[in-house]
Structures are given as C-alpha cells and as structure tokens.
C-alpha cells in the first residue's frame, strides 16, 4: 500500500512540476515565437507583395478579431500614404491540405495589390509551383477582392497552372476566403490602417 501511494505521489509531483515549468516557459517565449513566425514564414510573402514600400510590414502589424479568431494584419506604406493592408486567407481543397495565401489589398478601391502563397503541402514540381513561381499568383493583381475569384474552367479569369488545377482552385478559394474576411471587417480595417 505504501509503495502504491509513493508511486502516485512521485508521478503526480513530477508531472505537475513539469507542467508548471512548461507553462512558464510558454508564456515567456510566446511573443518571441510569434515574431519569429512572422519574420520567417510571412516575411518573404510580405516582401514580394509590398515591393517598394517605405516601411517594414512585418513590424507594422495589428490584430483584429474575425469571427472567433484573432488574425494578423500587416500594413504597407507607399509614398507616405498608408492605404495597403495584407492578411492571410486559407483555401480548402488543396491536393495536400489547406493552402495559406497572403494577399495585399488596396483599401481605397479593394483591388488586389499582390499575393503570395505562405503555407502549403502540394506536390513538388506541380502544385508547389504556386509558391515558387510567382507568375501564377500574379494573375490576382488588380482584381477586386470583393468579387469571387475563379479559374477559367469555372468561368473565372485565372488561368490554372498546367497539371495543377486542384491547387489552382485551392489558391482561388484562399483568395475568396480573404475576400470574405475583407468584406466582414472592412470598416474596422480601414480605420485601423489609417491610424498607422
């Protein structure tokens, strides 16, 4: 009996102290980790979208609540005017799961400034080109974020990548997801961006 109690006590003490330690470490590092994620995952995408901007979009960011979740928004300044914002939409139906698409929007007229794939697990050489070869996502440039974006097969304007129609559709889904977010919080977004 004493042996049993000893086993329970040791295990409980060990697990709870390790839980406590990890919680403390997690709270200590969480902001640092977020900075790193923004810098290394979103950074390259933001750079290509906001090419020639006068600020550092990874630093000028804010969060807004969209539905239940907090989302990151990145501000781009051009010629002293702050009218561009970039955020991430997620497209269902990729070949290997959801596709994350960072999309930059001009809030004056709602047109797409540029886009870049951030996260995906598509086939290397085919679907993965959506990230590596910027010519596909550059088709989004100038389109209105508020109207549906579709591939030509579905009656839209986007030429699908050859051999990767599924991925191309998923990228469009991601753009439409971004459009949905944009419509939902447009007024708050405009206000926030202007304050930078």
């Amino acid at each position: 009996m004493t042996e049993l109690i000893k086993m329970v006590v040791v295990l409980v003490l060990l697990s709870s102290s390790s839980g406590g330690l990890l919680h403390w470490l997690k709270t200590q590092t969480s902001s640092k980790i977020e900075d790193q994620q923004v810098k290394f995952v979103k950074g390259p995408a933001l750079k290509s979208i906001f090419e020639g901007s006068s600020n550092d979009p990874t630093a000028d960011r804010f969060t807004l609540k969209v539905g239940e979740t907090e989302k990151n928004f990145f501000v781009g300044k051009f010629d002293g005017k702050t009218n561009c914002v970039a955020f991430e939409g997620f497209g269902k139906g990729g070949y290997g799961g959801d596709i994350g698409l960072m999309i930059g929007v001009d809030i004056d007229n709602g047109s797409v400034l540029g886009a870049a794939v951030t996260t995906h697990s598509e086939t290397p050489g085919l679907g993965a080109k959506a990230k590596e070869d910027p010519s596909f996502v550059s088709q989004l440039k100038g389109l209105s974020i508020e109207s549906p974006i579709l591939v030509t097969n579905d009656g839209g304007k986007i030429n699908a990548m050859s051999g990767a129609t599924i991925t191309s559709r998923a990228v469009c889904n991601a753009a439409n997801d971004a459009g949905k977010i944009y419509k939902e919080i447009k007024s708050q977004l405009t206000e926030k961006v202007k304050s930078f």
Binding site: E3, L11, S18, L22, T29, K32, Q37, F40
Partner: protein
C-alpha cells in the same frame, strides 16, 4: 564501476558512439541528415535533452519507484524536449522549420531513454552528466559527419558553398531516404574496419 569521469565521457565518442556502435536513435539519424547543418542542429538538441534528463534522473533515482520508472523518465524527457522545441522556435526558427517533426520525436528517441534507464538510474550525478555529454557529443558528431557526406555527394555543396564546381552532377540519391541507409551502412563498415585493427 571503476571508470573515471573522463572515461565515461570519451566512451560516447568512439567505443559506444550511439548511432554506429549502439545503433540507437536511428530515426533522426536517417531523417534529418540531409545537410550537415541539420544534422548538427538535431544533435545539439538531442544532447541538451540527454544531459538534462540524465541529470534529473540521476538526482531523483532514489525517489523514483522502480515500477514506474519508465513513466517518470518519459515525463522528464518530454518536458525537456518541449523546452528545446519552444527555445528553438523562439531563437532559431529557420532550423525549427527544417527539423520540424523530428524535434518532438526526440521524446521517443531510444538513445535518451536508453541512457536514462541503463546509466543515469544507476549512477551518481557527475558520471551521469559525463555520460550524457559524451553520448550527446558523439551523436552530434555522427549526425554531422553523415550530414556532411550526404550534403557533399547529394548536392555538391558544403554549407552552402559549391565543392566540385558547376560541372558536378548532384548524386540526388544520397539526399533521399535510401541514400541515408546506404551511407550509414558504409560508415558503419568503415568504423568496423578501423576498429578491428
């Protein structure tokens, strides 16, 4: 038991070098050694976990009941692995992206559990630290060496620099999983030849 601290340390570097002599912890050995940088990063992470878990297991060895020792080891190891994961995310994010799923998998690396069970649970603090450090450094060196060979042959590059010049056709087999087995086997063979003399 008459081994000195130095002997405990150096045995991990050659006599009992983990991936080659004990053939333990092969999952990361084969998985992450596509480049030398990845190999060494993984090795250092494992070393940290190994040393810390050896220290704690050694200190607590009188309090841990023998019947639940494995559960206790796993809790201790998992804690330190999570510590490494968080620290790596906070300070070396690009490396974390490359090593990815292999970091949490250090928990089930039988090298770490093996040293806790076979050594730290039966020995005092100082020899346990020496053992963990030796094993860890040996593991790091093995991963680094394997990574270097695979990187040089498989991509013709070494730490991002071209070794053989532009005319070299990369031996892509070496950076894929089967190449890891072949390369490990050849290195094991080489070590046995040297060791048998």
């Amino acid at each position: 038991m008459a081994k000195t601290v130095t002997q405990e340390f150096t045995k991990g570097l050659w006599e009992e070098i983990a991936p080659f002599r004990l053939v333990l912890g092969l999952c990361p050995v084969l998985g992450v050694t596509t480049t030398m940088e990845n190999g060494i990063g993984m090795g250092l992470a494992t070393t940290f976990v190994l040393v810390c878990s050896n220290i704690l297991v050694s200190i607590l060895r009188k309090f841990i009941p023998a019947k639940v020792r494995i559960a206790c080891f796993i809790v201790i190891i998992a804690t330190f692995v999570t510590v490494v994961e968080l620290l790596m995310q906070a300070f070396a994010y690009p490396l974390f992206l490359k090593l990815g799923v292999f970091i949490p998998l250090i928990v089930v690396n039988c090298l770490v559990l093996g040293r806790a069970e076979a050594f730290a649970f039966k020995n005092k603090l100082i020899p346990s630290v020496a053992d963990g450090l030796g094993m860890g450094v040996g593991f790091t060196l093995s991963l680094g060496a394997l990574g270097a060979v695979r990187e040089i042959l498989g991509t013709g590059m070494f730490l991002g620099m071209s070794v053989f010049g532009a005319s070299y056709e990369p031996f892509a087999f070496m950076v894929q999983a089967p190449g890891a087995f072949v390369c490990l086997g050849l290195m094991l063979c080489g070590m046995n030849i040297i060791g048998s003399k």
